[in-house]
Amino acid sequence: MSSSTIAQTDSSLRPAKRRIGDTVFGGLSTLSGVSILVILAAVAIFLLAQALPALTTAPDVLAEQGYGEFWGWVLPFAFGTVWAAFLALLIAVPVSIGIALFISHYAPRRLAQSLGYLIDLLAAVPSVVYGLWGIFQLAPALQPAHLWLSKYLGWFPLFSGNPSGTGRTIFTTAFVLAVMILPIITSLCREVFLQTPRLHEEAALALGSTRWEMIRMAVFPFARAGIVSAIMLGLGRALGETMAVAMVLSGAGVIHFKVLTQQNPNSIAANIALNFPEAFGLRVNQLIASGLVLFIITLAVNILARWIVSRRAQYSGAN
């Protein structure tokens, strides 16, 4: 009771005056923080506004002035997007985990960081350059592999059908995409592997386990959630990758799982890039609507990945 009266009377204990600079600066930074949310909402709203004409127009008008009925038109591309990204993951994930392990647990300590930079350099190459490399170098180089696979493994459904003569197939595209998502998966896995509690590793080694057993017993269980989210983020990148697919893949609006044939399911992003410059009228709206579909797919994948990460942060003992 008496202390509160002192606080009220003693001027030196009064709370400091709110300074105008603080109000302005704090307000400014809060405002730009909120602007992030506004921008993201704007992306969704503007895309929706431009996509609506394609979604609401009658199918027969779309067939005349656009690319045809919307959902039937976009479905093969959505399939191609997911299929190409899945194949790329199939190639990239084991390699990335291997590289991440190499940098975190196998490479000589002094070299490890520079070797990590080397892998990061893969991320520095622009996608259009990967496109040029894919079409001029990788596709011709992989063409004999197409023939070989089709000849000896043609009975397997994936490799059935007539092999492409140019190598511009979803098989080649998956390799290019894998190279492009490799650095992101690697760097995330590397971070997680390095966070493994030192004591867990040393305990495993002290029990007489070999290095590989230590990795399986201490590193992988600790890193499982991190690996999953790294894969999801790589998937998000692969789903949205545009130029490399647009340049390498000779695509069409088909749905099938054969990876070696001339007719390949194109991806949404590549389809937009290839057709947008020449599009007009309703076709523009239709392409933007397909972009919205891609946006929703990647958004779902990313949100899932972030959710896994945040769950892991709560349970891990590292931080």
Binding site: F46, M243, N302
Partner: protein, 352 residues
């Protein structure tokens, strides 16, 4: 007693009994290479693949026989991990080698001084595209850096554990995952609604790049602000310095090198983007110095355009595409290098 056991262990170290000698993997590697060369013919890829398979399987079997299952598995894992790393170097070396080899042909003075206006066939250059890239990336940086910097300050200094801060962090992460083409479509839709349908210009391209760049800036700057030691802030508060002044004259100067390098790395991340610029900034063959009016060529789009829509003969166009690709790689790698050097050289010492 013990002396005798020690001397005998020199001849046959019991700790090393039942293990392959240290030279065994090297001998195995040499043997595998010979096998690969014999069976793979003269083809590099086939020989390497065969040699690698022979080496990994052979060493595993040998080790299984001599050292037992556990050590054999350990060796197998080690060889595979090393192999994965070397596998990843293949595209890196291949892409850089081919870009240098094909790009050097046209990496001359006219390439940097001429545009493609009225050029058919040989000659010409990418001056218009290089200027366009500078304009578009410059404007994108001018938009992204203030927003990104202030957002990071909000997250690190003001937000604390509030719901808003958590939401922003989450959506910044989500924003990193926006496909670049969607960012381009957004910029196109925005310009279409503001200035009439079909408005495609440098500003549109810059907006598209900003959407991609802002989250990168926020993430890197926030991380840096968080490693500025709290003691510095508390010392400033104790001297009666207001919070905004503490941030502006204590926190940011401490982290400035990291902020600069973060911004440079963010620029490096977006300068090679092609798809959003194709959609939002467009194509042109001549120099356009006005970002608010008319389509604007950029270097990545120039590379794509030269490759995809060549005239006849095609070779000069493709040569220009490769020269553009090489220029782009050099710019991005240079930016990366500068960013990392600044970050490493002037990094603030973390507390602790």
């Amino acid at each position: 007693m013990s002396v005798t056991t020690n001397s005998s262990s020199k001849a046959l170290n019991p700790l090393k009994a039942g293990q392959l000698p240290r030279w065994a993997p090297w001998a195995g590697l040499g043997l595998a290479l010979i096998v690969g060369l014999v069976f793979g013919g003269m083809k590099v890829a086939a020989s390497t693949l065969i040699a690698a398979a022979v080496f990994v399987v052979g060493m595993h079997v040998l080790s299984l026989y001599v050292e037992g299952r556990r050590r054999a598995n350990d060796r197998l894992a080690q060889h595979i991990v090393y192999g994965m790393f070397m596998l990843a170097l293949v595209p890196l070396v291949w892409v850089s080698w081919i870009a240098v080899k094909n790009g050097l042909a046209r990496l001359d003075a006219p390439f940097f001084t001429y545009s493609m206006r009225n050029i058919v066939g040989e000659g010409g250059g990418a001056a218009h595209a290089i200027y366009g890239t500078l304009y578009v990336t410059g404007i994108a940086t001018a938009i992204s850096v203030p927003i990104g910097l202030l957002t990071a300050i909000y997250l690190a200094e003001y937000g604390g554990n509030s719901k808003l801060a958590k939401g922003i962090t989450f959506f910044v992460d989500v924003m990193t995952g926006i496909p670049s083409i969607v960012a381009g479509l957004f910029a196109y839709a925005l310009m279409a609604l503001l200035f009439g349908p079909g408005t495609v210009n440098g500003i549109g391209g810059a907006i598209a790049l900003s959407v991609l760049m802002i989250p990168v800036v926020v993430r890197s700057v926030e991380e840096l602000l968080r490693i500025v030691p709290n003691e510095l802030r508390e010392a400033a508060y104790a001297l009666g310095v207001p919070k905004w002044k503490t941030i502006l004259s204590i926190v940011i100067p401490t982290a400035i090198s990291g902020i600069v390098s973060g911004v440079i790395l963010a620029i490096a991340r977006v300068i090679g983007e092609t798809a959003p610029l194709m959609v939002a900034a467009g194509f042109t063959q001549s120099l356009n110095n006005n970002p608010t009016q008319g389509q604007m060529m950029t270097l990545p789009v120039f590379v794509y355009d030269s490759y995809a829509h060549p005239g006849i003969p095609r070779q000069p166009y493709w040569d220009r595409a490769w020269a553009g690709a090489l220029t782009l790689i050099l710019i991005v790698m240079l930016l990366n290098l500068i960013g990392r050097v600044i970050a490493a050289r002037f990094a603030p010492k973390a507390g602790r």
